[in-house]
């Protein structure tokens, strides 16, 4: 706990003061899926091999978070795709790489040329079907109307997915089903479907011996893998930047797919997969990864961090929430503003709240604790407010008539009388906190959200459960713990029924 508090302080100071170390220092980020982890780890390895101190903040949630972290300087580089840059980051669907480079430069960001492969949507056919019908391109498939497709719901819904593809190729199929990706792959493997949408670096392509059909009419937007980085790296860490750029043009689709397969299907560590990718891409002089900060699925570590996050944010929420509740009960107009304000915070989606905080607080434990603290405020403020405003008038007047000072009245009479309601608010806040703290993983703060995010990325139900089950159990423990705490903290006289005469 103390360590975490110190880390918070330290992180704030670091963010504010910058780094004074003479050695080059590079922080590489990656998104929450295996390919991004492997590329991030490979970049961090290259930077470290150039003599820089490098760090890999893996498994950050979503493009918004990573892009915001890069702009804010919380990370220095991360692997990205040109299609995502166009659609999500720049909102310029038709921009060329040169135009994107110019736009990013305005934010102080640079983008490399393609790493050598693209990771876009593709249509894949079951191997035997492709063999039988001589399918090489999507145009070939368009001549076989008897083909049955199993597509993900997202692919069916996106304009750059099925609807556009169908129009471009005049593709009419006997059967088009929507299915979860793994089920669609199972259907193709089992022969109950012939076509499936895949990513070009999908490890399942090789495992299931699917044939990726050539997009001969150039329908699918290109998602060339690139590295986005801060331009100030050129001055701050030129050696590390040059080292990372060694990867440009060196990784092909098959290498990437093998690395993905190693992580997703063979349960290799991100570090080992990155090492293999570097050897395949760069040959003999490829550096080997050192100690890795790539995602680890150690549940105990995650659980401990989870508890730390909840405890720290809850403590802060109590320290501010109870006084705010008291203020709200004293000054009703201010109270309406306070309760309204804390209520509004609840409605801000966690991803948006985190993205908003990154420019101020960077990534890691600090923004996670602040977000959890903000989400935890309302129940505590509300509980305190309700507890104080529902004290029977006769008791409030008795306290007043005794001539106690306002402080003594609050401490000796009002807060004890309100304690059941305050404690109920704190309990609600704690239980919500245990559930919400899984979002901390989105900004690289760890916790039980880490195995959950990784499990989703790896489509591994056991991994998801290894985060979700402890989180649920922890919520129960917190619930039970508060029942005991209530016995200890709520004055016994308040738990008695009035004596019947």
């Amino acid at each position: 706990m103390k360590r975490l508090a110190l880390a918070c302080l330290g992180a704030t100071v670091l963010l504010a003061g910058g780094r004074a170390d003479a050695r080059e220092h590079v922080v590489v980020g990656s998104k929450a899926f295996p390919e991004s982890w492997v590329l991030g780890e490979a970049l961090a390895t290259l930077a470290a091999a150039s003599g820089a101190e490098s760090e890999h903040r893996a498994n950050l949630g979503g493009t918004e978070i990573v892009a915001e972290a890069l702009r804010a300087g919380a990370i220095d580089a991360y692997p990205e795709y040109t299609g995502t840059l166009r659609e999500v980051v720049l909102h310029a669907p038709a921009a060329t790489l040169g135009e994107m480079r110019a736009r990013l430069a305005r934010d102080g960001l640079g983008v490399t040329d393609s790493l050598g492969f693209d990771d876009s949507y593709a249509l894949a056919a079951a191997g035997p079907v492709a063999e039988r019908d001589g399918l090489r391109s999507i145009s070939d498939a368009a001549r076989h109307r008897e083909l049955r497709a199993a597509f993900t719901h997202e692919f069916l819904g996106r304009a750059d997915g099925w609807p556009g593809l169908r129009a471009r190729y005049g593709l009419e199929l006997a059967e088009v089903r929507g299915a979860q990706h793994q089920l669609a792959l199972d259907a193709v493997a089992g022969g109950s479907a012939d076509l499936v949408d895949v990513y070009t670096t999908d490890p399942e392509i090789d495992r299931l011996a699917l044939r990726v059909l050539d997009d001969d009419r150039g329908f699918f937007p290109r998602y060339e893998a690139v590295v986005v980085y801060r331009l100030d790296l050129g001055a701050r860490a030129p050696g590390a930047l040059a080292a990372m750029q060694r990867l440009v043009g060196r990784v092909d689709r098959a290498q990437m797919a093998r690395a993905n397969a190693a992580v997703s299907l063979e349960h290799a560590s991100t570090r080992d997969a990155a090492g293999r990718l570097l050897r395949e891409a760069l040959g003999a002089d490829a550096p080997a990864p050192q100690a890795s900060s790539a995602p680890s699925a150690a549940v105990v570590t995650a659980l401990v961090r989870h508890v730390e996050l909840v405890a720290l944010s809850l403590a802060a929420a109590i320290l501010l929430g109870v006084p705010l509740g008291i203020l709200s009960a004293r000054r009703r107009r201010t109270g309406a503003l306070v309760l309204g304000g804390t209520g509004v915070v609840q409605t801000v989606p966690s991803l948006a709240l985190l993205a908003l905080m990154i420019p101020l607080l960077g990534i890691g434990v600090v923004p996670a604790v602040v977000a959890l603290f903000l989400y935890g405020l309302l129940p505590i403020v509300q509980g305190t407010f309700t507890g104080l405003t529902t004290i029977p008038a006769a008791l409030a007047e008795s306290a007043e008539a005794l001539g106690l000072t306002p402080g003594a009245k609050l401490l000796r009479v009002e807060l004890p009388l309100a304690s059941p309601s305050i404690l109920a608010g704190v309990r609600t806040s704690a239980v919500i906190g245990v559930g919400t703290a899984t979002i901390a993983a989105l900004v690289g703060a760890g916790g039980l959200g880490d195995p959950i995010l990784q499990g989703i990325a790896l489509r591994s139900t056991p991994l998801i459960l290894s985060g979700a089950v402890p989180a649920a159990l922890l919520a129960l423990v917190v619930q039970g713990g508060f029942a005991l705490l209530e016995r200890a903290l709520v004055p016994r006289g308040l738990r008695l029924r009035t004596h019947a005469e």
Binding site: E397, T405, S419, L496
Partner: protein
Amino acid sequence: MITLDGVEKSYDGRRVFGPVSLEVADGARVAVVGPSGCGKSTLLRMVVGLVRPDAGRVLVAGEPLTDANKRALRRRIGYVVQDGGLFPHLTAERNVTLVARHLGWSEERMRARVAELSAMAGLDGPALARWPAQLSGGQRQRVGVMRALMLDPAVLLLDEPLGALDPVIRRKLQRELSALFRSLGKTVLLVTHDVAEAAYLADDAVVMRAGRVVQRGTIEAMTRAPADEQVSELLASRAP
């Protein structure tokens, strides 16, 4: 000791109380009687500063109640409400010693005072350690009186102190309170709807109706010469 001088109170522009002028001399025991809603509780609450008058002055021991002196003044006033107004989170003893503890009395001094008061109020030792919810109505009322007397105030205000009790206990407590008042010699202002109780506990009574004082005197004298028909009816309600 207690002076009300042309005191008025309005709600939503409608005057509901006063103008009332009233003197209660040092050591006098005065009961305020009248039907419910006549303003008798408001009168008491004005004396202790829970209701602020719109016009007129309220003086206790010659001092007006201001924001600056209200806490000091209130500690010289004991205020007892129906059912004791005890804090459910404190034991009977802690209720009694609440303010003394806040004022920094030593444990020894508090213990001695509580022993004195419990003998006076007829409350046995074990009851002192109980929570209000574990006490009988009569015990709660005794604790309420002890709490009001803890700092040895010059003035005792009681608002329907026996209102929640059954008749047998009520009569017993009336006897005890009467003896207590006589032995303490404090200024007592008592609100009750029960004329018999007023006659028993006070030397002097004030009849109120619709926010105003209608008549003042001993119950006997007012019964003999009521100010009007309604006072006569009210006083006639006195149980034989």
